[in-house]
Symmetry: C2
Subunit: 395 residues, 2 copies
């Protein structure tokens, strides 16, 4: 596998979405850059800092599109990501999943290496374990307390006295309480209208209320971190918030399109697959793009428009219309006109190639080792693979 | 990552499901061996050869439990698997996914290296391309024609005259037609009773009918290959069949349990996760075993018993009862009592570990780089990691 964008020129000249071994992951860099610019501009208008989540791409090369200087700040979902991005030069990282007690030593090693690392907790047990660990005087990560803004997952309710117990325990242990963090996970279940601005306001209000409670009790708690891709794009006011996190916006996907956060044309990542069979009597075209290539994610299953395992496009990324991967085995995809629609199955001979837009970019990309980078805005050159960018995995 | 079972002794003495970084994949070797012995014995009684599918494990070490001599015959789902297992000494491999035209050269390279390779086709286009390729006199793989026995996916209907067109085209091109292959994919939708024996008989009858049609037209077609894990375990008679394929039986999973093919106690693979949070008011326990560790597979969603993202067990693999991973984010799992059941949420403090049985072993294992091998039958030693076995991925 290529280890960087430095593909040999002679390899590159031959590399194309028409010749790459399928199934393969294609990444349209023009769309990535456009998605980044759009959200950066929005957050600048709202006057708030940006700490993008890199769990979608898990790629140094993609993260460097967000930060050309390559230092962050970024958000990660695993300590292995923190280690990978720190090795790659990123110096300011928030690990935004509740810290497992047995990962404290690993987090401290990163802090000892000079990384500006924040970890997330929401229980007295975690605060106690961190305070105990700090007794040896060694380096410690900063701590954010997770706030529950919408009942989606973990976190302390913004008015829960446990918030102060945790803060006091950290302070007595000499552990730096950096502030609070929340994530409006329920925003993924919103649908257009006022749902998303309301989710964004709920997220903001919960985080700010929690920070105010801490400050009233004498804790500085400077960081007020909020964010999800839907709320980042629909927040109308972020007073009191110091930073916004968002991740999937870099690539976007059909779930984000389904809830009204992006256009289909904004989706930067797709799976290239090859036609390997026809069942005209069933209205099926079979490809080598099964669930191993798409992931098992069926995130649009309960949306008004169910995209199956993905929306089918031609090799240049233009959707055929209501044509989806309706079912998938491990290494087979079944392309079909969306049930109930008036779409038409395209003529695709054996050996033809398609590009399939995914339900969920985070899940689909995780099935692949490399991004085949193309520039869809380059007239007549949109199929040329200009680089192959590796991604990391594991925990 | 460890590259083989040859873990250093001092590492092994400390390695345990209690200390391994979570989330992690655990493999109970005693169950693997028992599952293999059970099916081998069954197929011996039916008087038919066995060509197990290794797409579930994608591991040389696991495949060597099937074949201690390490040569096969085996079935694979990608050419990358064929290359990996050929490199590891396996000499007889069937690639059981319809051959993409642009993979013909890669398949020929394997044949040229002396691998006994069979590929699968079901169209005149593929037969034509193979016959054209063979004109240079170089090595060619043998060919199996895919037969559709149940309308599940690809294949030629057993009485379709296209079968003979393909056979004649291959014969004229000097390409070896080894026989026919079918897969009763619809058997995964059967539920107990006579459904599975009937699916097995349908699979057998379709394959044998197709072989007879070819033989009546003068083609030897010696191979009659059938199989899926459900039909392999429920076939009552395999007259005319020369080999059976099955894959997921090596590990089994909750989908196979749900359709009545195995007991929960037969499931050899599980994900070890650590408790990172509690929401008692919601009846939730949060762990670090999210969908990145479990996969997005919801294969039991339409079963009478929906297992969510997996069935929760204690660290020794004993199920708590009706306790499942009810929802999952990328790196969070939400453990809950199964809705509608009378199960009880176990007492699991922050830092406690659980093992989660997966819906679909093929999908869950694909999320991991290594199997942490344990022997659940070793009294008092069932948590000791005796080896770490890597798996391959990609296409």
């Amino acid at each position: 596998m290529m280890q960087s964008a430095a593909l040999a020129a002679e390899t590159l000249s031959a590399a194309s979405l028409e010749t790459v071994e399928t199934p393969a992951l294609a990444l349209d860099l023009a769309k990535v850059d456009r998605n980044i610019a759009r959200l950066r501009s929005r957050l600048a208008q709202l006057g708030v800092a940006f700490r993008p989540h890199v769990k979608t791409s898990k790629s140094l090369d993609v993260a460097r599109r967000l930060f050309p200087e390559g230092t962050g700040p970024i958000t990660v979902s695993t300590l292995a990501e923190a280690e990978y991005f720190a090795d790659g030069g990123f110096s300011d990282i928030t690990y935004a999943v509740g810290l497992s007690l047995d990962k404290i030593d690993r987090a401290r090693q990163l802090a000892a290496q000079g990384l500006r690392l924040s970890v997330l907790i929401d229980t007295v047990e975690q605060a106690h374990a961190l305070a105990e660990a700090a007794r040896d005087g060694g380096a410690m990560p900063a701590v954010l307390i997770e706030i529950d803004c919408d009942g989606h997952r973990g976190g302390v309710l913004p008015d829960d006295p446990a918030l102060l117990v945790i803060a006091v325990m950290l302070a007595r242990g000499g552990v730096n309480l950096a502030g609070v963090l929340t994530h409006a996970g329920e925003s993924y279940n919103a649908r257009g209208g006022d749902g998303l601005p309301e989710a964004a306001e709920g997220e903001r209000a919960a985080a700010v209320a929690a920070a105010q409670m801490l400050r009233a009790a004498g804790h500085a708690a400077p960081v007020v971190s909020v964010g999800s891709t839907p709320t980042a794009h629909f927040a109308r006011d972020l007073t009191g918030v110091t930073e916004v996190r968002a991740g999937v916006f870099t690539f976007f996907d059909l779930v984000m399109h389904g809830i009204g956060v992006c256009e289909v044309d904004d989706i930067a990542v797709s799976v290239v697959a090859t036609v390997i069979g026809h069942r005209p009597e069933k209205g099926w075209i079979l490809t080598d793009g099964g669930w191993m290539a798409m992931s098992r994610d069926r995130g649009t299953q309960r949306h008004p428009v169910d995209q199956g395992y993905g929306l089918v496009c031609d090799i240049d990324g233009n959707p055929f219309g209501d044509v989806i991967v309706e079912d998938a085995s491990q290494e087979h995809g079944i392309i079909k006109v969306r049930p109930g629609s008036d779409g038409t199955l395209p003529e695709l001979p054996i050996g033809a190639r398609v590009r399939i837009l995914p339900n969920h970019a985070c899940a689909t990309c995780a099935q692949h080792e490399v991004y085949n980078v193309v520039d869809g805005s380059a007239t007549g050159q949109g199929r040329v693979i200009t680089a192959q960018w590796p991604r990391m995995r594991g925990w």
